[in-house]
Symmetry: C2
Subunit: 363 residues, 2 copies
């Protein structure tokens, strides 16, 4: 029998349509999945009727309660247990579902997931991990904003979580691991980051520690796992989003401003489509709450059906892996600081980026 | 008589050529400037000979010592006083020059500037400020990385520095001021950021405090001054750079991959040139060390002559303003917390960004 995945049918800008559409697309790839759709039956049932092929794989757990995008985590905790989001998470906590997927309010989802699933043994705080597009593919980046601060020990735990995630999602048996810092030289940056580096240098965990990277290194395929505190991590991901939007805006202005520009864009529309495909957040959609006793995937709030399906894919891949067992073993290895079992490759000199000497780019 | 600006003739990837070329371009705009070029006379003199028109405005202060891009701040402090960079800064400290410009090693420049100029009264730590491109122009962003941590009080001081900078460089008499945070809601984010907001809400300083913004808001023209600690600020600017390079890379792949793509790019080359001009760091080049007793502008290490000239422009504009006096008055106002003189406009509700409800974009 296949896995059951619980879905928050009411979360996101375009729910429940994109949730049902996402389930339909995911079933094309994983025919043995079953879905538990949590949400308003009067909204969901007609959508399922329109796709009779998937109805057999979908059950609806009815509730009219839903978490709004503007609800604060404290409000969500008070009255969110019976919401579509709360029911989806409880299905994971009870073992009924192998993973939950929601495109709803991130802060609310984290609050409910923390409450119902709690953190894994040996993990102080959960982190949000996701794939960041790079020149040749993508890398795992965390924490995207679950925590506004992180101690050295917590950063090292995030490294364990990110490594396990990369093993499953990037299929890299020995990913290169780096800490986000303001300079690649060993003496630079925050104490917490330098102490985390010392903790990560000599372990038996299946990564190759390459030291520090800067924001400009993230897309350069120098590491498959990049670890940051949640404040800087959230600043980084949001700044990257803002920069993509700024360039899109400038491109529209540049190519829309003249007849030749428009003609060029028309002739090159295949190239533009390829460019959009590389930058499309729906292609690799899903932030994963790492470090909890259960798998919860956060889809982007504005995802379409294809994007929601790729978040489901991520949940399925994690649920089918030995993710939790690996993290438990790695946490043990981290705490033991098993220097004796270190392989030559994991000693790791700090990575020196191209811009290492030029620590601050004053533009 | 015009201003004297001291130049580190040997700093940057393409020195001394770009320094002399920058001086030549700056003299076209400000004919009454005088330059003190600090560096190796045997390298600089031939360049000046090639431009006899500017020789009368340029003196050379000879030294063979120079700071390398890979030198660490501690090394620079030990033996950098007699370097081209050290001499340029000392000319500001002695009053011989009104400002110094260098395209050299940022950490070394900051160390030497701190040593020779020290911080202004009432300012705990200097910050690096620069212009960040936005949809309709640019905004002042600081700290770009002078400090890896910042207390609430230091963030508030950065706000004072950034506001004075925006008055001079953006010519905004009452710039909108925001603190970089992980969410726009008042309860989110770090304690230091929230405490800084409380300090900045009720002052008589000439800004309009709009509260918090996220990384994605930076290019959206919602604020003219955006304040961050140096760690997150450096992560933000470097991540933006990395994203620009990633998209350029994808664009080259997309448009170079097919004959139609190449043809379209050829026809639209005017549009591409406009796009490049908007993203060109040389157009608005210069990070300013704010909060020191003297003006030091850091040009990008890879700047060309045009870029170096725009860094000189920034130095000239600051030197001609009443920048230091304004900062002194604002620091006083900040410390007094002069709530009584607050105008209605400066009360300021926190800014709510478009993405305020969706605090973490799990891609």
């Amino acid at each position: 029998m296949g896995l059951t995945i619980s879905l928050d049918a009411m979360g996101g800008d375009h729910a429940p349509q994109i949730v049902v559409e996402g389930a339909r697309l995911a079933l094309q790839r994983h025919a043995d999945l079953a879905f538990l759709l949590c949400g308003d039956e009067t909204a969901v049932a007609p959508l399922l009727k329109a796709h009779p092929g998937i109805a057999a794989s979908c059950r609806v757990r009815h509730t009219v309660e839903r978490i709004a995008m503007e609800d604060k985590p404290s409000q969500v905790l008070r009255r969110g247990q019976s919401s579509s989001m709360g029911l989806a998470i409880q299905a994971v906590a009870s073992g009924e579902a192998a993973a939950a997927v929601s495109a709803g309010n991130t802060g609310g989802l984290m609050a409910l997931a923390m409450y119902s699933l709690s953190t894994m043994p040996g993990i102080d705080r959960p982190a949000i991990g996701a794939l960041w597009p790079t020149r040749r593919g993508s890398c795992v980046f965390l924490d995207m904003g679950a925590n506004v601060e992180a101690s050295a020990k917590q950063l090292a735990q995030f490294a364990v979580l990110g490594t396990a995630f990369a093993h499953v999602i990037l299929r890299k048996p020995r990913p290169r691991l780096a800490l986000l810092n303001v300079g690649a030289e060993e003496l630079k940056g925050r104490d917490s980051v330098r102490e985390a580096a010392a903790m990560l240098k000599n372990t038996s965990i299946a990564y190759e520690f390459i030291g520090f990277v800067e924001g400009s290194d993230i897309p350069l395929d120098v590491a498959e796992v990049i670890v940051s505190d949640g404040f800087s991590g959230n600043v980084a991901i949001k700044t990257a989003e803002g920069t993509v939007h700024l360039i899109s805006h400038f491109m529209k202005e540049a190519f829309g401003g003249s007849l030749l520009g428009k003609l060029g864009a028309l002739i090159a529309r295949g190239a533009f489509k390829r460019l959009e495909a590389r930058m499309d957040p729906n292609a690799q959609n899903g932030g994963v709450f790492l470090g909890l006793n259960g798998i919860v995937v956060k889809s982007h709030g504005s995802a379409n059906g294809r994007g929601f399906a790729s978040a489901i894919d991520m949940a399925v891949n994690l649920a089918r892996s030995n993710f939790a067992a690996e993290i438990a073993a790695s946490v043990k290895a981290l705490n033991e600081g098993t220097a004796s079992t270190v392989t030559a490759a994991s000693g790791g000199q700090p990575h020196r980026s191209a811009g290492a000497h030029e620590e601050i780019a004053a533009r």
